[in-house]
């Protein structure tokens, strides 16, 4: 669906206009690890998810914060406060896993494809630029992932 050639001209132009503003990190750091069947996997999403009672994502400084999602959370306790209005939310309404595939990870752990699922996962609110504004919080999350023994992260957009 998100093939630029399939989008209307105004949306294609919007997507292409973003490219010059994207950061050039100058490298693609390559961190290896053991076999997938031994890895401890966490999810980090930019979908703006959080527990229902947690602070909603917002404008200004609040947009750079992250929210912690416990690995054993009930799907019924997760809500979304993403700023963008330009993506489909009906899929998320129907099934959390189409955005945040936590049940799929637990299935892969059960059948031995991955070693285990992290105790904690993390959500950012990805709308807005520059994305480099999130670096400090990203490093903070990376430290906590290491504390949790995580050695594989699946990043999911929205």
């Amino acid at each position: 669906m998100v093939r630029l050639a399939d989008l209307p001209e105004w949306e294609r132009a919007h997507m292409l206009e973003k490219i010059p503003a994207l950061p050039d990190f100058g490298l693609s750091p390559w961190v290896s690890g053991g076999p997938l069947s031994t890895r401890r996997v966490a999810l980090v999403t930019s979908a703006g998810l959080h527990r229902r009672g947690d602070r909603p994502f917002g404008l200004g400084d609040a947009r750079d914060d992250y929210r912690v999602i416990p690995g054993d959370i009930d799907a019924a306790d997760l809500v979304m406060s993403q700023l963008s209005v330009n993506f489909d939310r009906t899929g998320f309404h129907q099934d959390l896993n189409v955005v945040f595939p936590i049940d799929r990870l637990h299935e892969l752990a059960a059948d031995g494809t991955i070693g285990s699922v992290a105790d904690f996962h993390y959500a950012f609110m990805g709308a807005g630029s520059p994305v480099t504004r999130m670096e400090a919080k990203g490093r903070e999350v990376a430290r906590m992932l290491k504390q949790d023994g995580v050695d594989a992260v699946l990043l999911t957009p929205v």
């Binding site: 690890g33 939310r89 955005v99 999911t156």
Partner: protein, 231 residues
């Protein structure tokens, strides 16, 4: 930390060059492709995690399987717009019409929640009726206090709009038949009083003295598809 990402806009990922990425041909908002289809989602997750087995990068692979198209069942009949003014001496105000719609849609919403075992409402922390009155006051030219002390006006408005839309979208899912995401969007923005109220809010918020409210009106209220007449 080893990472792999799912990419929805290939051109953006190619520009950033992350170490491992799997581009998927799915609509924005559905990075795992198909809600309610665990097998489909599982194939996507396996393909993404499989990139951890590569020995060098950066890697940007294309996922080969499209999500099946959702065919709406209402193309001929039109969707049920629940509002009716029969018996009214005079039509309600626009916020009043929205409250009538909400009242009418409530049973469909309850059915959807019971069927799914969850609702995505609750981020704002107020009822959809109170949120409608809050937006209605703005449309009427007032600047009411937000319904929560910890929310500035722009965020209170944004969350109110999202909450109302979620209520309508979830209520639609309780009704018989199937609507594509595009059809649901068209219904909301073209055929409901709530959609009209949010369009009027955009005009009112654009006149605000608060720059955050004006920014919200410009960028985070009406989707680009609706602004371009495609929703």
């Amino acid at each position: 930390m080893p990472t792999v990402q799912i990419s929805l806009v290939r051109e953006h990922t190619a520009a950033i060059r992350p170490p491992r990425a799997l581009w998927v041909p799915f609509m924005l908002g559905r990075p795992l492709g198909v809600p309610g289809d665990a097998a489909f989602q599982g194939r996507v997750v396996r393909a993404a995690l499989g990139l951890f087995e590569r020995v060098r990068g950066p890697v940007l692979d294309d996922y080969p399987e499209d999500a099946p198209a959702v065919i709406s069942t209402d193309e001929m009949e039109g969707m049920a717009c629940p509002i009716s003014f029969a018996g009214n001496v005079e039509p309600a105000s626009l916020p009043g019409q929205v409250l009538e719609e909400i009242d009418q849609l409530r049973s469909w919403y309850d059915i959807a929640v019971a069927r799914r075992g969850r609702t995505t409402l609750g981020a704002a922390g107020a009822t959809v009726e109170d949120l409608t009155r809050f937006i209605g006051a703005w449309v009427g030219g007032d600047t009411p206090r937000p319904y929560r002390d910890d929310l500035p006006s722009a965020n209170a408005l944004r969350l109110a709009c999202e909450e109302i839309k979620s209520f309508y979208f979830e209520a639609d899912a309780g009704q018989p038949g199937v609507r594509s995401p595009q059809r649901v969007l068209q219904w909301f923005w073209r055929e409901t009083a709530a959609g009209k109220l949010l369009v009027e809010l955009q005009a009112a918020a654009a006149r605000s003295d608060d720059p955050a409210v004006r920014h919200f009106a410009a960028d985070n209220l009406v989707p680009r598809a609706a602004s371009h007449g495609e929703a």
